[in-house]
Every structure is written in C-alpha cells, then in structure tokens.
C-alpha cells in the first residue's frame, strides 16, 4: 500500500465531502422545492458529471484553471500558485465531479418528506428557514448521510479527472486510483492487487452503510 497516496486520497475525499454537504444542501433544497419551471436546467447541469466522460470535464477544468482565464489569474494572484496540478485544484475538480452524487440523493430525500407536514408547519407560522431546519433536514437525514458517503466513495474512486487536473505528482496529487494505474504500468501486480482489494472492501462497506440507512428510513413515516 502506498501510504502517502492513501493519506492524500483520504484528505481529498473528506474535504470534498464536507464542501459538497455545505454546497449541496442549498442546491438540493432549491431543486426540491422551487416552483420555477426552468429548474430542470439546473438539474441537468448538476447531473452532467454522471454522463460526461471524465476527460472532458478534466480538460475544461484544466483550461479554466490556466493563466488564460480570470479564475486562473485570480487564484494565482492571491495564492502565488496555480490551481492546475495542485491539491487545491484536485479538491475543486472533485467537488464538481461528485456534485450529482451529493445533490441527487439529497433531492430525493427532501422530496420524500410528506408535503402535509410542510403545510402544517406553514399554518403554524413557520417560514422557509424554520421548515428546512426543523422539519425537512431532520426527516431527510438518511439521505444526507447517503450523499456524504457516496461523495466520499466517488472521490476516492475518481481517476480521469484527477489525472487530467492533478497530473501524477507523488505526495501532491497522486491518489490511490492513480497509484494502482502506476503499479500496473510497472507490472507490479501484487502491490496493485493489495490496493485494489482495499478499495473494493472499502467501497462495499460504504454501500452497506447507504443501503442500511435506506432500511431505517421508514421509521420516520408520518402518523
């Protein structure tokens, strides 16, 4: 096992998951409850990374992070380094790439909250903030956990985007999935197998958490 790659992957996935929770909740609430007809456009944009080849997303991010764009110049002026081929660049890319894996379960969870409960809260004087805080989020907590777990797992497993945006710099941007690729290139199958098996078991356990939570969800059924 390449431990520096392991630590870097864990850091990347943890950070991306926390950012996705903070960014994903307001986006998911808006998608779930906004009456706007054109919100399907926002849903399509959020879901793009599911169908887009990772190299396409990686390519555009690489271009966006470069010195030729406002974002690239702005970041370099404030930090003195470029977003491309850096850990920060990997975090931004991971957040964008895993966005649908965070937002979609949240939207499903929020939409599953009984509309009668929201109506009751409104008649009791609750505004949008109080309804989200006291009713929707507590009732949809399994979907929030599922979103976090899926975001984490998806970030751990990403390859194409990471390779495009981060390159393959040991200790800076080399993640476990790239490490497996390197080991296979070097015909070091035993080591590749060790890392791959660890990721397999890890992914299985995370999915067990997600499906276990789904079993628990009916507990909150409205009476």
């Amino acid at each position: 096992m390449n431990w520096p790659a392991f630590v870097l992957t864990a850091r990347l996935a943890s950070l991306a998951s926390v950012i996705l929770l903070l960014v994903g909740v307001p986006i998911a609430l808006w998608i779930a409850f906004s009456p706007r007809r054109w919100k399907f456009l926002a849903e399509a944009v959020v879901a793009l990374p599911i169908v887009l080849p990772p190299t396409v997303l990686g390519f555009y991010l690489l271009v966006a992070f470069g010195r030729g764009t406002f974002l690239g110049r702005w970041y370099e002026r404030f930090t003195g380094s470029t977003l491309a081929f850096s850990f920060s660049g990997l975090v931004v890319a991971s957040v964008l790439y895993s966005l649908p894996f965070a937002v979609n379960p949240m939207v499903a969870g929020f939409r599953a909250v009984d509309q009668k409960l929201i109506a009751a809260a409104r008649t009791l004087g609750a505004g949008r903030g109080k309804i989200y805080r006291r009713i929707v989020l507590p009732l949809a907590w399994p979907s929030l956990v599922a979103a976090m777990v899926l975001s984490f797992a998806h970030t751990v497993g990403e390859f194409g985007v990471v390779l495009m945006v981060g390159g393959n710099i040991p200790g800076a941007t080399r993640t476990l999935s790239i490490d497996i690729f390197d080991q296979v290139q070097d015909l070091n199958y035993a080591s590749a197998n060790q890392t791959a098996l660890a990721l397999l078991v890890f992914s299985f356990l995370l999915l067990c958490v997600v499906y276990g939570l789904n079993l628990r969800a009916p507990f909150w059924g409205s009476k």
Binding site: D114, K116, L117, A119, A120, A121, R122, T123, L124, G125, A126, G127, R134, I135, P138, L139, W220, G221, S222, K223
Partner: protein, 248 residues
C-alpha cells in the same frame, strides 16, 4: 376537564373577544382537476360567523380545497377572503397573505404531526415565545386536553385519540383567528369522537372564533355544527340551520 383557551402571549395575537365578531368572508373560484373525472370549478361565496359552520358533501366536491384556500396553502384563481374585515386574499388587488401569516388553526385529516419530535414539541412548534414561558403554555394546553402524560412521546408512540388531541392542541395553542377542521374525527370510534368533540366545544365556548368543519359524516355535523353548507361539484346547493349548540 376544562378545555378553555389559554393565554399564549403570541405577538400580534388577536385575543378572543366577547364583543367583536370575528367573521370570515369567503368568495372564491378555483378549477379543480380531480383524478379520474372531468375538472370542475369550485365557485363558492359564504360567510362564517363565530361558531361552527359545516361544509358537508361527498368526496371530491371541493371541501378540502376550500380549507386549503382559506389557510393560504392553495391560491384561488379568483375571489377574495377576509377575516374581521382584514383581507387575506384578493385577486383583483393582488393581495395574498402567506399561510404562515394568516394564523389559521388547521387540523388535517391525517393530523400531520411531525413524526420525529415529541408531542410537547409538536404542540410548541407554532408558539413564538421561548424558554419557560413556552414550556408553561405547552404544559397548560397538554393538561387541558388530558395529554400531559404523553408530552415526551413521539407520535408513533401515541394512541389514535392521543394523537388527535395533540394535533388539536397544536392547532389551538397559536390562538388562531379561525379554525379549519378537515374531517378530523373520521378515524376515531364513536366514544372517543364524542369525548374529543366535547373538549373542542368547551374550548370554543370561550374562544369565539369562526370554525369551518369539513365532513361527510352527518352525525358529526349535527354534533358540532350550527349551520351546514351542502357542497356538490364545487357549488353550495343548500344551507341548513342545525340544532343550536350552547357555545356561541
């Protein structure tokens, strides 16, 4: 038991008044797209004085839609709604007071208790004061509706009657300006229904607010109502005086 209104010290609360009538004026139209039948237009005009007005009619005649329009949960296509002269909705003047500002007590047919919080928190949800004052208000009303012993229990741990009382206490504790009851007793057996109706009547004796009760149970209508509007296909086709109740 004495289910009389308590002082919930709600900001902007309109205290029940013995002299000023709190009439509800309703004039609304809304197209209803019902399942497996042709759409029809709900077109009603009526007033509700203090006391209980029953909206009686078959399923799908638009009874619940009326309540939802009054509560602000649905927007009528046209018309106006006012309480004690204050406009809640007026299509011509583009006035539509949001549901959270109408202070309508609404008892849903399915009760709509928040399943993840205890009975006391359900009842206290709409109270705008905090701390010990809120606790006192919640405790008072739970006592009055004989459910103080289940204050810490979640709705799924309560009996049908207890859930009904919690929902009723939650709707009344906000000192509503009018009360909307959507077939609230349909799931209860007769004995329990009579008990809860008696509790509600005692409350209304002092609250003196307009109450609109939707039901298709004639016994329930007669037990609680003063006046009955007969609704068919979105129109009021008849109006009847019921045997007078003593609380108004």
């Amino acid at each position: 038991m004495n289910a009389a209104p308590i002082n919930t010290t709600q900001p902007n609360a309109t205290k029940p008044s013995a002299t000023k009538p709190n009439g509800l004026q309703v004039n609304l139209r809304r197209t209803i797209a019902a399942k497996r039948r042709r759409p029809f237009t709900l077109d009603v005009e009526f007033s509700v004085a203090c006391g209980v007005t029953v909206v009686f009619g078959p399923s799908g005649s638009g009874k619940t839609t009326i309540l939802q329009c009054l509560a602000g949960l649905l927007r009528p296509d046209q018309g106006n709604i006012s309480i004690s002269g204050e406009l809640l909705f007026d299509s011509a003047r583009k006035i539509n007071v949001p549901a959270q500002q109408r202070r309508a007590g609404y008892l849903f047919q399915e009760l709509a208790l928040f399943p993840h919080i205890a009975a006391a928190e359900n009842v206290g949800f709409g109270i705008r004061v905090n701390g010990t004052e809120k606790k006192r208000i919640v405790h008072d009303i739970l006592e009055r509706f004989r459910i103080a012993h289940v204050a810490g229990h979640r709705p799924d741990e309560l009996s049908g009657g207890e859930r009904q009382r919690v929902a009723l206490a939650r709707a009344l504790v906000i000192q509503p300006r009018f009360l909307l009851l959507d077939e609230p007793f349909s799931a209860l057996d007769d004995a329990l229904k009579q008990e809860i109706i008696a509790d509600l009547k005692r409350w209304l004796e002092q609250a003196r607010i307009p109450v609109l009760l939707v039901t298709h149970d004639r016994d329930e209508a007669v037990a609680l109502g003063d006046r009955m509007l007969l609704l068919r296909e979105g129109r009021i086709v008849d109006e009847q005086d019921l045997a007078k109740n003593s609380y108004h």
